[in-house]
Symmetry: C2
Subunit: 201 residues, 2 copies
DNA sequence: TGTACATCAGTGAACGCGCGTTCACTGATGTAC
DNA sequence: TGTACATCAGTGAACGCGCGTTCACTGATGTAC
């Protein structure tokens, strides 16, 4: 082997990372293979020695972005607050996430575009969402499993829709809107937990 | 005037309607001017006597789609239920809406793509959302104005995100997920209204 | 230790294609006489 | 009432461009001797 075995793997990861960032910032259709490769410090010709098609890259970038976004949301939580469902949602419905789609949730940035994608992309998308819903469910185990599942669904929907809407607004309206969404969830969740989920203002 | 004055106006409306449908079904980037014109029964050459650019069409189609979707959601409400915020949200978070993006909410179908659009598109999008939030606020006037505004924000977020997520899932999971979202909102809203907002199962 | 070599990651020109847009034109229409 | 005409909605060929993809190649690398 003339090259160290980790070398190609590292390059591939650089491409996926660059794609995950560019797709979330500009949309998948508006980012070409050449642009991704340039962001990774390469030329476009080499792309097909790493991936079979742009579509393969999309699926892999989606996986990568999902993991990155989860990390981003976890880091964004106030240290003073315990790791609850509401804390997670509040970190998601935040101004840093609003202004940095390229590091944020791929569903908020690309959801409908991904839903219209290939079978391969849709599969990745579907299992990513299922996993995310399970994790959210684990953060809030009050009541029956079915109740926890419903809560996770409603909160996740509010997170994604809140971010999609906030990014669709004038920037001056967006921060207030996000704050309204957080407050709404705070009250909705407080109902089931006797107020335990309420965040400090 | 060699042609009846309503003729060109009617043709223009046919183009806008075809675009509004095609964009929501396939995404804006995947629908060409030629395809829209063909759907309207015309050839692509005539497009620029109606619009300055594809971008102008996008903004107009967005307006058209928003109005159409509101009508769609209003018609979808069960006749037995009074026209409340929850009833509106339940009609939105429905299987017909899930399976017919081409007649549904343009934000659920195209939100992020529109947010990345031109200034013109963003302006239309922003004012459409503000108007929608106001209408939702009018459906539920309990508590202070500020509380009603928060409720409208949270519910709208849950509607949009719920639909985006449901469409991103396997079809077999989507209906249950939508039902979970409706239930979540039902409980969240019941809290403020002493149960008045609860829908029959 | 030094050198010739095989490997293969990455290069860059080229391809076919579909897009948004332009433009010279055609032909259906209501009007003037 | 019938006909010649001006108008302009709609046609379809053509354009430049950027895309995803292919492919013959280059040159940096670890290995064999």
């Amino acid at each position: 082997m003339p090259w160290p075995k980790e070398h190609k793997q590292a390059t591939r990861k650089r491409i996926v990372s660059a794609a995950a960032k560019a797709f979330r910032r500009q949309g998948i259709a508006d980012v070409g293979v050449a642009e991704v490769m340039q962001s990774a410090g390469l030329t476009h010709g080499g792309f097909y020695s790493h991936f079979d098609s742009k579509d393969d890259l999309i699926a892999e970038a989606l996986d990568y972005a999902g993991a990155e976004a989860f990390e981003f949301a976890t880091k964004g939580q106030s240290a003073s607050v315990e790791n609850t469902l509401l804390a997670h949602a509040s970190a998601y419905l935040s101004v840093p996430h609003l202004t940095h789609p390229e590091r944020g949730c791929p569903i908020a940035a690309l959801g409908p575009e991904l839903s219209r994608g290939s079978q391969n992309v849709r599969r990745t998308l579907g299992s990513g969402i299922r996993e995310r819903l399970e994790r959210l469910g684990e953060l809030d185990k009050h009541g029956t499993d079915r109740e926890a599942k419903r809560r996770a669904a409603g909160v996740f929907a509010c997170m994604v829709g809140g971010m999609v809407l906030a990014r669709a607004m004038k920037e001056s309206d967006a921060a207030t809107f996000l704050s309204d969404c957080r407050e709404f969830l705070s009250k909705a969740l407080a109902r089931d937990n006797g107020g335990k989920e309420t965040l400090p203002a």
